[in-house]
């Protein structure tokens, strides 16, 4: 008499494998669709604001550093980051320059965003702009998509900077997206030395009305303003 158990076991394993593959396939397909939906949703975003908690886990420090802050964004690429309560660092992208204001230090730095912008400030833009791609093509111009996985109600997009110079500083960029509402929940930058900087967003608002003056640097007269890139020879 032939036993059915091994046969059933084999069939069961195949079914399980097929189910798994199917699940995986379905997951990939679902993930890809989710990513496409997210890019489509990004295209609809004209303005965006959120509160954030920035956590910097540095190799040089035993414990992470956490800072509260806020961020505003308006198409195509204007943004305003404020870190600290009250704001200790304000980073603004104007039309042709980035301005960093340190209210406590009464100091402001202006960086022209032309072709001669030194490498590290292009890298700084990566820190501040990651998470606001206008389109997939826009994103893939700057990053290579390493993976997109869904876990629970969130999806994580893992990106690698295409620029070898950028990769020397930033090894990886991760975006955490809400699975249902497609909201950007967090960004995380992983640095080449193992340090990390993560922004967890909350109370995000899509297309809120924003004052134009929000993205214009207002520097008090008693602040010392410098242009660190101005005297730097090629």
């Amino acid at each position: 008499m032939v036993s059915l158990c091994p046969h059933l076991a084999r069939v069961g394993r195949c079914l399980a494998l097929a189910t798994l593959l199917g699940v995986v396939y379905h997951s990939h397909a679902a993930d890809s669709e989710l990513l496409d939906r997210w890019f489509a949703a990004q295209a609809e975003i004209k303005t965006w604001s959120a509160e954030l908690v920035q956590t910097r886990t540095l190799k040089a420090l035993k414990d992470p550093l956490q800072t509260q802050g806020r961020v505003w964004f308006t198409m195509p690429n204007r943004f305003r980051w404020e870190l600290g309560e009250p704001a200790q660092t304000i980073a603004l992208r104007e039309a042709d320059a980035m301005v960093i204001i340190y209210p406590r230090l009464k100091r402001a730095e202006r960086y022209a965003l032309d072709e001669q912008a030194a490498g590290q400030w292009r890298d700084a833009l990566t820190l501040l702009e990651a998470g606001f791609p206008r389109s997939r093509a826009d994103l893939e111009k700057q990053f290579k998509i390493e993976s997109f996985t869904t876990t629970g109600d969130a999806a994580e997009l893992v990106l690698q900077p295409r620029s070898s110079r950028a990769r020397k500083l930033i090894a990886q960029v991760r975006l955490v997206i809400g699975g249902e509402d497609l909201q950007l929940r967090a960004t995380e930058l992983r640095f080449a030395d193992g340090s990390r900087m993560r922004n967890d967003f909350s109370r995000a608002k899509i297309n809120p009305p924003l004052e134009e003056g929000l993205f214009t640097a207002v520097i008090p007269e008693d602040f010392k303003v410098s242009e660190p890139l101005a005297g730097r020879a090629r």
Binding site: Q54, R56, L58, K59, A60, L61, K62, D63, L65, Q66, T67, W81, L83, G84, Q88, T89, A91, I100, Y102, Q116, A118, G119, Q120, D123, A124, L127, L128, S164, R165, L169, S195, P228, G231, R232, A233, R234
Partner: protein, 1100 residues
Amino acid sequence: MKPRHWLWVLLCVPLALGLARLRFDTEVLHLLPTQLPEVHALKLWQQHFAGSRDLMITLRADDPEIASAAALAVAQSLRAAAGLTGEVHWQAPWREHPGESAEIAAAGWLNSSSEEVRQLAARLDPERLHEELAAQREQLALSLDPGEIARLSYDPLGLLDVPALSRNAAQFTEEGPPFASVDGTFRVIHVQPPEVFSDYRAAARWLEELRERVAVTLAEEQAPIGETIRYTGGPVFLAEIAADMERDMIRSVAGTAFIVALLFFLVHGRIKPLLWLVLLLAVILASTMAAGGLLFGRLNVVSLGFAAILLGLAVDYGLVLYQERLVHRERPLAEVRRWVAPGVWWSAVTTASAFLLLNFGVGVVIAAGVMTVGLLPLIERASLKAASSTLVGADVRGLKLPDQSIATASPTAPPDKHPRNHFLALAFTLIAGGLSLVLVVRDAPRIDASSEPLRPVGSPAYAALDDLRAEIGGDESLALLVTGEDEQAVADRLRVVEQTVARLAAEGRIESAVLPGALWPDPANQQANRKLVTSLLVQRDAILQAARNAGFTDDSLRLATGVFETWRSALNTTNTFWPGNSVSRWILRELTARDAEGVIAAGLIKPRPGASTDAWIGELQSGQVFVASWERLGPALLREVEGRLRWVLIAIGGMLLLTLSATYRRWQEVFLSVSALAFSGLLLLAVMSVAGWSWNLMNLMAVPLLLGATADYSIHMQLSLRRNLGEVGAAFNSTGKALLLCAATTAAGFGSLGLSSNAGLASLGKVCGAGAICAAITACFLLPCWWRLLAGRYLETDQVQAMTTGAQPETASRIYGFAAWRLGLRCARWLPVAFARVLGANVAAAYGLLARSRRQVVEQNLLPVEGGDRLAARRTAGRLFRNFGIKLADLLRYESGRPVDQLFRELPPPERFAALVRPGRGAILLTVHLGNWEFGAPLLRRLGVKLLVVTLAEPGTGFTELRERARRQWGVETLVIGQDAFAFVEVLKRLQEGALIALLVDRPPAGSGVMVQLFDRPFAASVSAAELARASGCALIPVALPWTPAGYEIIVLPEVPYERSQLGDRESRRALTQEILRAFAPVIRQHPDQWFHFVPIWPE
């Protein structure tokens, strides 16, 4: 061996010494005036900085990652090759070894001011450090600058924030220059050679080996770099430029030698004389270089290049002599040499003078060489005469020459045989001159003051350097060098410089500056900071623990630990601390250097584009602070040259006029030579204008060369025209062809330089070649026509005779005339006696040196007195000219009316002379041309004795009257004989009345002399005294007034006895004349250097 041969042998000793001492300097900058700060700065920069030691390998790729990987692979491969290289850097050393940055930071704090270190110590006080660290943590949390985040992470204590280094801090973290372009697609690998190359061949071999290794590495890496890899830097320049120069020289010398030989063979059909010429040239070159070695010890290689010019001039002289000999083969060789010698000599003097005045070392050597060459034809019976005789004589024997010689020369200028040719020449002069003038006025060749003409042409190394500058930048910055005897001196000066630079930046006069700052060791600060640093070391553990307590990991404290360790080792030594790890060495190599005179610090200053730099450079520069820039070198040299150029040109012009005047002694020919110079110069400028050539620092050296060459050609041609009595055809056949051959060889030689790989040398060759042709055209085809028009008709008979017979001048110098005498009287009226005598002696001595033919006459006249001893005669002749100058000075003083009594040694008693005369019987005071015979007149007048001077007419109009008036003021009467047939009657009448008459007896007018014996030689003496004695029975008293250091001595010889009745026949009168001369012989022998005869007095 004859004495003169021993002289040549002895000459070999200093020549050998000179050659043994001789060394060559390959640095072109050493040619330039070192007192110019621009030159000194560039020398320092080239020697110690400017990457002149390092090789730079550049490569390019489309992807910066590929470029980076290729650069890394090449660097690793070169490092792995044992002994092939020194240090190799493909990126900033602190990026490769970040931990080594601690040493430079530690050194920066040691060199900072005590106040700054005090502030650091206060900041690191463990009691308060937690506040600082809390602030750092907060900044780490808030900063958006990735660089700042990185720095704060690994330098929480802020030890990299050395105040004087903060400006350069960005360079410690940033990618890019000087190892990569901003986009990363262009990379530079700095390779230090294993040794300092003194020999370009060693550099070339090393480069070859290195290139092979790089090619293999890139092939293994399969890097798509391909043809983009290039090599530049000091070793490449050394190998490339030296190899190019060697190739250029070989090509130039070989090519020139071939062309010269070919031309010579085409013209003369022989080669053997050329070989002898080459031998002579080798001797001349060796002598010149030996002279350079003796005088200077070290010659620049450019001087060696100028030796070619010397050879060209020597070739010219040899060819002229050779051609002249061919044409006049029937004449003795010595005579031909005598004809050519003045032209060669004066050409040599002209060229040598021009070079001497240029005040370059090379000029002095060339001048010496030219003078040596010029002297050769003047050396009689020299050993080289054998060679020159062989040169000009050997191949003349049996040589079938075309009928090109002049059989005889007519004593007058022949009629113009080729009026049509002269018309064409004149027409060409006008047309070519006019066209050239128009061209030059419209578009004169400009002066290119940049250093571009000094660069090699088509140099891969320079192309790579240009590429590197375009990608990496830095071209617009100027190097700032601060020198001093030790570190402290430089540190003190750097502080002042930093303040000035800061002020200039604040005023917007410069864009930026990078100075060594705290990287420069400051011994005083290091010593002052020892205590503070020691206290920090004591607190080291507490400081580090405070950082840990603030949450910083040990990783973040590695830099701090390194700084503390460096401080510890620095404090263990008492010497000035210099950091020494690989990062420090690389940085300090770019900023510091040492030489025999001390230490040097370097920085960079970036001028504001478009703004003038002269003012602020003037504020920065001092005796020990310099700003180096190749772009400033050209204008600085031109300013330096301009300032002196006017005076140099005036001096050269004056010297030229002087030498030409001494050569020709006729203003027409001087004018023609100057015109030839100007016309050929105009032609050359026109050629340069048409060809688009410009003047630059290199080819400006052609100016003195061409000046010398054109003067040479014009002198040779005009003297040849004189010799040939204006016969243009004959002059062209004998000299013109030689000059054309000279010009052709010169053009060939310089023309080959036109193919040089160095743009400057190439331009020099072109300008010199074209200039030589212009000079030859002017001298050979145009100048003869001009000469016929202006100078040819003024040939004087005696000059013609002298030219045709080779005889010496038989009349007095043209200087002896009314104008010169009147000028002399005016000067003598005011000048003190002593000064006038010194002036007169020196002027007469100079005349004696310059008037060679006149001096020869004097020597010939003195030979019998000196018993045939030529050397004694030559020496006596030299003294004679000086004594004549003194005599003239005293005579002019007397004739100007000034008293001369004090010039006599001793005045004789009046009775001595009063007894000579009595009524009915006069006396003749016989004298010879010795001492100051004219002074007898005022002396006798003072003694109350009236004198009648019998003299011949002076040359020219008014001169005789002038001298009569001068004597008359002293109460001396003059009777001029020679033109007046009744003068003899008058003299006789006076004698019969008892007068005292002075009469010269040793230079009779034509037809009034008799031959007597003097010094065992036939001598023509005046028979007038004997005639007058026969006619009047007067007394004959020989007197002489030679000059002695104590004053004029009056020598009154015994009366010459005679029997009047026995003077009836001529023979008796001849015998009486003989007695008279015999009486004078001892006096003449005693004072031969005062027996003044400047025309030939011996019949044989």
